[in-house]
């Protein structure tokens, strides 16, 4: 699987997640161990109307989606892995009118659990938030065949 296939899979996957579509999440970069998604700035997700800073919840969704979609890059067979827990540390408010990126990495992959690390940042490179997550592997058979093929682009 090359990065082009990975990016296509992740794009098709996040397009099936209503909230990711609503936020306008897009794929920025994929490798076999990492994934970067982009959250565009929008007035609709502002948490502080005085400063225009977006709400932490939108960043949580960005980081949960990025960490949870990472499995599409790291595993050849598509598995949907439910989130067990997330721990988010907010380093600084995201600067308004600029996109926020989240780059997630596999920290460790076991038979049952996937440990992830994720960093949210902006163009000038400063960290907005860090997120540590764990995801449960429930196996590919937990998903209908038709849905898996829709994401992988054919029988896998």
């Amino acid at each position: 699987m090359d990065d082009r296939i990975r990016a296509d899979r992740v794009t098709r996957f996040i397009q099936t997640l209503n909230q990711a579509v609503e936020l306008g999440l897009t794929v920025t970069e994929t490798t076999d161990r990492s994934l970067t998604l982009c959250l565009p700035y929008s007035d609709r997700i502002i948490g502080n109307p005085v400063t225009g800073v977006i709400h932490g919840g939108a960043i949580t969704t960005l980081m949960d989606t990025t960490s949870g979609s990472l499995m599409l890059c790291a595993l050849d067979v598509f598995e949907l892995c439910p989130t067990l827990d997330l721990r988010v540390d907010y380093m600084r408010p995201a600067e308004p009118h600029k996109p926020v990126y989240a780059r997630a990495e596999i920290h460790r992959l076991t038979r049952n659990i996937i440990f992830t690390r994720c960093e949210a940042y902006q163009d000038h490179g400063e960290t907005v938030a860090n997120c540590v997550g764990t995801f449960m592997r429930i196996g590919p058979q937990a998903l209908p065949q038709a849905y898996r093929e829709k994401i992988t682009g054919g029988p896998v």
């Binding site: 997640l17 209503n18 109307p49 932490g56 949580t60 969704t61 949960d64 989606t65 988010v88």
Partner: protein, 144 residues
């Protein structure tokens, strides 16, 4: 997060509509809040745009997190004697059950209020309060 006049109005009337209307993200996910005596119950009515997993279908985990985080901030704003705006420091979230495509409820508890930092516990449930879909805790920094 919001202006003092709105906060004062909310405190005096128990009507959360103005406060919620002043926060775009609250409208984005559809957060609502009801007051019963001193207790606040936060609600997130079912909404197609909040879904993640399309197979179940289930509410996006990030939306559940955002809902709980925002509930904790509003709860804390109203729990303060003086008007201080909470700023979130960190947030730890356990997902216990899938959030199905129906209304979510949340309640908050102030675990510890220090001079500058507050610790809030949040529990979210759907069908039964005794079967939470998620529990979380958050630290907030309080600034004058």
């Amino acid at each position: 997060m919001t202006d003092l006049e709105t906060l004062k109005y909310t405190r005096e009337t128990g009507d959360f509509s103005r406060l919620i209307a002043s926060i775009p993200y609250a409208n984005f996910i559809g957060l609502e809040c009801d007051q019963f005596g001193d207790d606040l119950i936060f609600r997130l009515p079912a909404k197609d745009q909040n879904l993640g997993n399309p197979v179940l279908p289930a509410i996006h985990g990030g939306v559940i997190g955002g809902f709980m985080e925002l509930s904790a901030a509003i709860y804390l704003m109203l729990a303060q004697e003086t008007v201080r705006m909470p700023r979130i420091v960190n947030f730890s979230l356990d997902y216990l059950r899938a959030g199905l495509d129906r209304e979510i409820y949340a309640e908050c508890r102030l675990t510890r209020q220090g001079n500058r930092v507050a610790n809030v516990m949040i529990t979210a449930w759907q069908k039964s309060r005794s079967k939470p879909i998620s529990t979380a805790r958050a630290h907030f920094l309080l600034e004058d």
